[in-house]
Symmetry: C2
Subunit: 341 residues, 2 copies
Amino acid sequence: MINHSSSDFASNPFTVTVSRGPIIESRHQVIAVISDAKGKLVRSWGDVRNAVYLRSAIKPLQAIPLVETGAADALDVTEQELSLACASHNGEVAHVDAVSEWLKRIGLGINDLECGTHWPKYEAAALELAGAGLAPSAAHNNCSGKHSGFLSTAVYMKENTQGYIHLDHPVQQRIVKVLEDFTDLDLSRAPIGTDGCSIPTIAIPLDKAALAMARFADPSKLEAGRASACHRIQTAVAKFPHMIAGTDRLCTALDGAAHGKVIAKVGAEAVYLAALPELGLGIALKALDGADRAAEVALGALLEDLGVVTEDIHKSADPYFHPILRNRNDIVVGRLEAVFD
Amino acid sequence: MINHSSSDFASNPFTVTVSRGPIIESRHQVIAVISDAKGKLVRSWGDVRNAVYLRSAIKPLQAIPLVETGAADALDVTEQELSLACASHNGEVAHVDAVSEWLKRIGLGINDLECGTHWPKYEAAALELAGAGLAPSAAHNNCSGKHSGFLSTAVYMKENTQGYIHLDHPVQQRIVKVLEDFTDLDLSRAPIGTDGCSIPTIAIPLDKAALAMARFADPSKLEAGRASACHRIQTAVAKFPHMIAGTDRLCTALDGAAHGKVIAKVGAEAVYLAALPELGLGIALKALDGADRAAEVALGALLEDLGVVTEDIHKSADPYFHPILRNRNDIVVGRLEAVFD
């Protein structure tokens, strides 16, 4: 629980501490904001007008064109695949098989993915692959589901399926338009970096990111086709949480146990975005140093503070929200906690 | 190069920035101090009186009893093994074989190691092991060399070889005594945590850690046997740098290229300690958030500022001191830099 001050708008980041034995060993600073769909900030910590690369945390919004163009219906994209389109997945067999089958069904293959290749970050998946004498393909890339969604939209729209990772390709331009609509920003002069999977990543002030997630959570004021896309994506993630991340991952543990009350997605460099459909709120946070361990604890503290952590969520997500550190002999040596300075 | 202020004793931590495209994506705060062997602080950044767990960065000092008890000579401990006693190694075949042979020679085996087991953190070593259908043993633990040194000392001193990881065992008590001598501190009431490999890790003010490293670098005022132990450990690391870490690791790249001018050792949670024998100086630093990537860049900045980075060191260590971030398609997407606020 965050012991937040009486002011609704604390100006300081909050802290996630890493203790070992009797003292704090390391500490992380987190900026965070909770917004409603009109842009009213319910709470914030730190300078949340800072532009932040949202990285993979924005994937649920990047999946909107897949649905609202009509591509998902025309190409029989399943709910499982829709969840995978929002994923930073573990590269487990279930993820890789689903990507391969999806690409095959739309007449393409793994070689059409432009995300690059890496060994699964999930150790067990990497070791299993190596143990079978195999090497990873682009389908193992944690972003391969999102890229399959991009390719599906390009196929349906009869666009070039090559170069879809570049900012001037219609696939990326549609995403820019979605982000502009959801944030009320003109992004034509926003800072743009290159993401791990080579698509553009656009820096957006954290308060506007929370606004975007609130509108995704409560799309009642949006155009009907877009509102429907938001609902379908939420439902898909809640029904197939394993697809959005995988074994031993917070997104999967939380989004599954929340049964649609929370749709949360991690991004690289310690970003977390979450939509709370029942409350019509959006959450955006970043640990300033880019440490994922701090972002997970921070998300838990915000959700607990908002009173949305059910028994089911506690059971599934507490290992991430209140991590206990164990050493190589499985001895408890420390813990992480969210605290106010 | 650090643009340090005109004051020798800046009170603020310095920053390591992580940029992506046109903006800074994440940032780390680093406390650091450079001391001579008399305890004069040459420079410092941040509150360096803070007690910090030195973790594995202190291993070169933890190896002193192995030499000064006479155990190393009596048990024919090689220079390669002495470097391994200071190591957080990659678990590559060379490391694991050396540990196994060392233990066998002193009449013990891998099962006598009390450090626990983990898959090598070096991805290539883990994948190679899995590819051969094997699993790791305690010899793969990155601390197995240090533990072999502990066991050697216990064997030579005719002490119990079980329980050597506990604070009250003579192996650990000798290390406490070394640390008290090198820091001028009474450590009987110091905060003590449990390290990853289950031995005690003692929190020591960062300025005293730098003093300890300066005395290790310039042991001329120490008792002859201890001074000789410091020199032997320095020589062993400089001659067998692969043993102290391994492939693609800063400690190996730097300590090898420095030819004895720098003995640097990383510790978990972003600690770096370094001894500069020619200058008689010690360096201690910690990124407050525990990010190793920041500690490496910070160490480079301090060494460059001190003018000790030779052409050889530049060639070997620049990938760690001035890292370029590349994505999954090998595209340059960002960089890390040490800067003063």
